[in-house]
Symmetry: C2
Subunit: 257 residues, 2 copies
């Protein structure tokens, strides 16, 4: 497992998986309030899901809040994500060109550590954000989400590989399982990708059936698991306290003989 790193420092001391808590507030006050609650729970990583933010059409308001989050979060790394509607995000009023400009502006503000952008977007936009993020020292997570089903392991493996080929710093795959077999498909695809892909991987199976993947994904190569601090951003997320307890048991058992 390759951990996420900030300035060559591995998150969570390189012990997989790092725990990320999403912020999904509608107002600046709500997001800041969430962050305050969440920081007390000491996540390894924060994700601001700006697609939930009511003022997303006001770039200055977004950047101003990003700055406040940066200040409050101190050393805790921040992912800035505007999840597209077609991959499970909230409906918002901006077109894709405006979103790309927003992400570029946020990169230039240097108050986030990562941006997340979907592989399904047009190549020109992916390339633009690859350049903009790299120029500012912001890492690019390229992601694939499927809230309907779980494609086969070959398809998922190809998504990890596509992210790497396009220059991503991190490759993420999240799918919806309909069976325990689908959960194994995601874990297998991640495990196989971890043998060939040279960037950190993040993967999960969502929903109740997939929740187990949030606990054991690290064993099979996923560098990050998303937990609930105050509010969930996707189905199946587990409260950070419980997730941390289960992860500790997995970790301790794994180093035993």
């Amino acid at each position: 497992m390759i951990p996420l790193s900030i300035r060559r420092q591995a998150l969570n001391e390189g012990v997989a998986p790092a725990i990320c808590i999403p912020l999904v507030g509608r107002s600046a006050e709500a997001v800041q309030g969430e962050l305050a609650v969440v920081l007390e729970k000491q996540p390894d990583l924060i994700e601001w899901r700006v697609d939930f933010f009511g003022e997303i059409t006001d770039t200055a308001a977004v950047v101003a809040l990003a700055r406040k989050l940066r200040e409050a979060a101190a050393a805790t790394p921040i992912i800035f994500t505007c999840r597209s509607v077609k991959e499970g995000g909230e409906r918002h009023g901006r077109d894709e060109t405006a979103i790309v400009e927003l992400l570029q502006t946020v990169c230039a503000s240097r108050c986030v550590d990562f941006i997340d952008y979907e592989l399904c977007n047009v190549w020109e936009n992916v390339a633009r954000l690859r350049d903009a993020s790299r120029a500012q020292g912001v890492q690019l997570i390229m992601s694939y989400h499927n809230f309907q089903c779980t494609p086969d392991a070959e398809f998922l493996g190809a998504k990890f590989a596509e992210a790497e080929r396009l220059g991503a710093d991190v490759a993420k795959v999240a799918v919806m399982p309909k069976s325990a077999a689908d959960v194994l498909t995601v874990l297998s695809a991640t495990q196989r990708a971890s043998e060939t892909i040279a960037i950190p991987l993040i993967s999960m199976a969502m929903g109740g059936i997939g929740a187990v993947s949030r606990i054991v994904g690290g064993v099979f190569g996923s560098a990050v698991t998303f937990a609930v601090g105050k509010s969930a951003s996707a189905p199946g997320q587990i409260a950070i306290e419980e997730l941390r307890t289960a992860l500790a048991v997995v970790r301790q058992a794994s180093v035993s003989m």
Copy 2:
């Protein structure tokens, strides 16, 4: 997942997996002392590993202790197992014929609920124990263990199927993984078998690498997980308190949306 049942009552209310604690004492006092400690931890199931017992060559001593264990364990079901040396058991002084007779005598005493016998034994012995256990209302677990490596999923699936074909009440597979991929092989074989095999399945990947399977095996069809109460009987077993905590997180997360 099909749970183990005693008199049509599913163990652990049918919630997978049931937790089994092994007893590995060398003397009658040691085994009884272990049982007392272990019962306080409220396992769903106890396994007496009689291959560890110093007086194994004395059938009367074995039956006498089995009776005491039965009395002390009250309603907690007991598996009686003499693990063969070639599948990871302790060295003891009895030949296979004597072991089969011992198992028959213990069945006749009716102070255990299950006996475990390896699939690798000669067919005549398997058939004899199938008849003897059925006649006494004792359930037969037919098992396959590999402490060296993890055969492929087809091989493991064939072991589950062989146990069912030979009339087992429960089919068990335990292997030693050398990689995370091997752990997925066991989980996949169990998940696939659970779709076609009509008896309860037990499976695990042993050692530190496989320990995660003891936590999540239930999600993929394993009806029982082995935990440490006082002393481990195989590598990678987790203390029951910690295992129970992790299982509770898995279970709660799995029923969420």
